[in-house]
């Protein structure tokens, strides 16, 4: 059985949209991106197995059964993605509570070092006027 072309296109669209959303600063959009990517991956796994009828003995003759293993794997993956999405949502909510927004922020220390490099100061200089920062 050949894989369904429509499904292949859907997988491609989900991956593209997911990656685009991942590049956003806003955590809510990132979560949507992760969800889309997760769904895309699940469909991709489904495409990897044989295509056919329900894999139940007595319902479908054996050669025409679909692959049950891929479905089992997707089931596991769905549960895991669900849990992770819930955790991310909780984090976005917490971030909103603490800072009033849920944007992903830069590395604080890196920015500090960058500023120091711009001013061409070393650690020793900072030592002398350490308290003033």
């Amino acid at each position: 059985m050949s894989p369904n072309l429509l499904l292949v296109v859907v997988v491609g669209v989900l991956f593209a949209a997911g990656v685009t959303l991942l590049l956003e600063r806003n955590l809510t959009r990132v979560i949507l991106g992760i969800t889309m990517l997760g769904n895309g991956v699940n469909l991709l796994i489904l495409l990897g197995g044989a295509y056919g009828g329900p894999p139940i003995v007595g319902v479908t003759p054996e050669p025409r059964m679909s692959d049950p293993l891929t479905q089992a794997m997707i089931l596991t993956a769905i549960v895991i993605t669900l849990g992770m999405t819930a955790f991310l949502l909780a984090m976005a909510y917490r971030s909103w509570l603490l800072t009033g927004h849920d944007n992903v922020q830069d590395d604080v220390e890196d920015r500090r070092i960058m500023r120091r490099a711009e001013r061409d100061e070393g650690l020793e200089n900072e030592d002398e006027d350490g308290g003033q920062r």
């Binding site: 990897g48 604080v108 650690l123």
Partner: protein, 506 residues
């Protein structure tokens, strides 16, 4: 003996359930956690004793035979990793108990901490024992889910900020891994590692390379290989000290373990060796240059962590028995030493009230014990003889020289330079935090903040790891013996395949 194999996964999971039920009884909760991890350590040692000379042990979970069922495989590499990880998690647990008791359990919500910590252990052991790719993925997800909880524990502003990066990057790497699993299943019709070892060889070269690079990408993010390492130095330092320590020691090494396993078992003749060597060189140099620029001890240590992942990749990239053996030895050494250093950093934070180098000073005179606890593993990390870091690097350098070739020689030079720069970075911490005259803001009495002397349990746990790290030198002969036999076993592939499929690979 085979009945021992699933225990390192089952016991922490059951322990997590019990500690969750005991959330209102902190004393019992602590006792259960310590008991479970001690038992895990015993089981791991027994597994290593059995596999060190014998064949790998396997268990078909639920009695379903491979390839349909899930198998757990404990070979020399897995058993060795289990022993080290169990020892380290136990010490860190004792350390965190000491911290929790001293802080009156306010700073760390203990009710969540113990179950999450045990689930993390279960995830790590499951990843080490996994006999098929999907179970490896599940192991990764278990340990990551627990690590999300641990890294954001307390949900302060800075932990949420850094936790966001960590969670999103980890999720992305998991999705890449899952995609690779889907593609490998589509290409070969199986996910059992032993079966894949035969079937992947039959695939066209281009397809093999594609699958291999997807797996390397996924594991590379987890192992913090440059250029996939940017998330690590930002996210680890903000967590509480024991969490940072156990993450730094174990989580990246699980990624390295996965790289070793898939490289040797699935793609032994793949062309990725050169790429790995270049990545190793970049990881070493960029990581250590980052460390030199830092002014916070925890961040500096995080960068050395990234840098020293390069040494392990160096050995893996060489793909010779000597290289693999050196890499495995280095993993063992680095798990212990990096964890110790982060625990010592936690003690410094406790004593000095900060880990920023600008505001520390004179710790060696104020607290000589702390000086020893930091200095010994620091020298060990930098690779000063006779410590195990020196022996590990020596093993890798010898393997590099044996391999020959321009790239290997560049790597050898890079390793030496990185080692010297590590010494410089560590020396800077020593000079600023320990040796110069105490900073004005440093309290001269025994405690940094009122009543915050160093708790005995924390010092004891750190000391145990220092002793363990130094002890690696004493047992380096037998240890190198085990790692080289593990490397031979990995390179031969047949012992692993044969342990899973006794007669014929289906």
């Amino acid at each position: 003996m085979t009945w021992l194999v699933p225990l390192p996964v089952i016991m922490p999971l059951l322990g997590a359930a019990v500690t969750l039920l005991l959330r209102r009884r902190p004393v019992l909760q602590r006792a259960v956690s310590v008991l479970v991890l001690s038992a895990t350590l015993v089981v791991a040692v027994l597994l290593l004793a059995s596999t060190a000379t014998g064949p790998p042990l396997t268990v078909a979970v639920g009695g379903w035979a491979a390839p349909l069922g899930i198998v757990l495989v404990a070979d020399r590499l897995a058993a060795l990793m289990l022993v080290v990880s169990a020892a380290v998690t136990l010490c860190v647990l004792v350390y965190s108990i000491g911290q929790g008791m001293a802080d009156g359990d306010d700073a760390v919500p203990v009710a969540v901490y113990h179950p999450a910590y045990l689930i993390l252990t279960a995830g790590v052991t499951n990843a080490f024992l996994a006999g098929d790719l999907f179970n490896l993925y599940v192991g990764f997800e278990i340990l990551l889910a627990a690590s999300y909880v641990l890294i954001t524990i307390g949900a302060t502003r800075s932990r949420i900020r850094t936790g966001t990066t960590y969670v999103v990057v980890s999720l992305l790497s998991s999705l890449i891994f899952l995609t690779a699993i889907g593609l490998i299943y589509a290409a070969t019709g199986t996910l059992n590692l032993a079966q894949l070892a035969g079937r992947l060889d039959a695939l066209p070269d281009g397809l093999q390379l594609g699958l291999q690079s997807m797996l390397l990408l996924a594991f590379g993010i987890k192992a913090a290989v440059f250029p996939l390492s940017a998330w690590l130095p930002d996210s680890y330092p903000t967590a509480i000290a024991p969490v940072t320590a156990v993450f730094a020691g174990l989580l990246t090494k699980v990624g390295v373990y996965a790289i070793i396993r898939t490289q040797t078992l699935l793609f032994p003749d793949g062309p990725a060796g050169g790429v790995l060597l270049v990545a190793a060189l970049l990881t070493m140099t960029v990581g250590i240059l980052g460390a030199v620029a830092q002014s916070d001890i925890k961040r500096l240590l995080s960068f050395t962590l990234v840098s020293h992942i390069g040494y392990m990749l160096f050995g893996i990239g060489l793909a010779s028995s000597a290289g693999l053996s050196g890499a495995i030895f280095y993993v063992v050494h680095h798990i212990v030493v990096q964890t110790t250093l982060f625990l010592a950093a936690g003690l410094i934070e406790r004593r000095g009230g900060t880990t920023t180098l600008d505001r520390l000073g004179g710790l060696a005179r104020l607290t000589p014990v702390l000086g020893v606890l930091f200095f010994v593993p620091a020298l060990n990390l930098a690779g000063i003889p006779p410590f195990s870091g020196f022996l590990g690097k020596l093993g890798l350098l010898q393997a590099g020289v044996d391999a020959g070739g321009a790239l290997a020689w560049v790597l050898v030079a890079g390793s030496v330079v990185t080692s010297l720069l590590t010494l410089y970075a560590i020396g800077r911490v020593w000079n600023l935090a320990f040796w110069r005259t105490p900073h004005a803001s440093m309290p001269a009495d025994g405690g940094a903040r009122a009543g915050r002397a160093l708790p005995r349990l924390m010092v004891g746990a750190t000391l145990a790891l220092v002793v363990l790290g130094t002890g690696l030198t004493v047992v380096s002969g037998p240890l190198f013996d085990i790692t080289s036999r593990a490397a031979t076993e990995l390179r031969e592939r047949q012992p692993y395949v044969h342990a899973v499929f006794a007669e014929e690979v289906p």
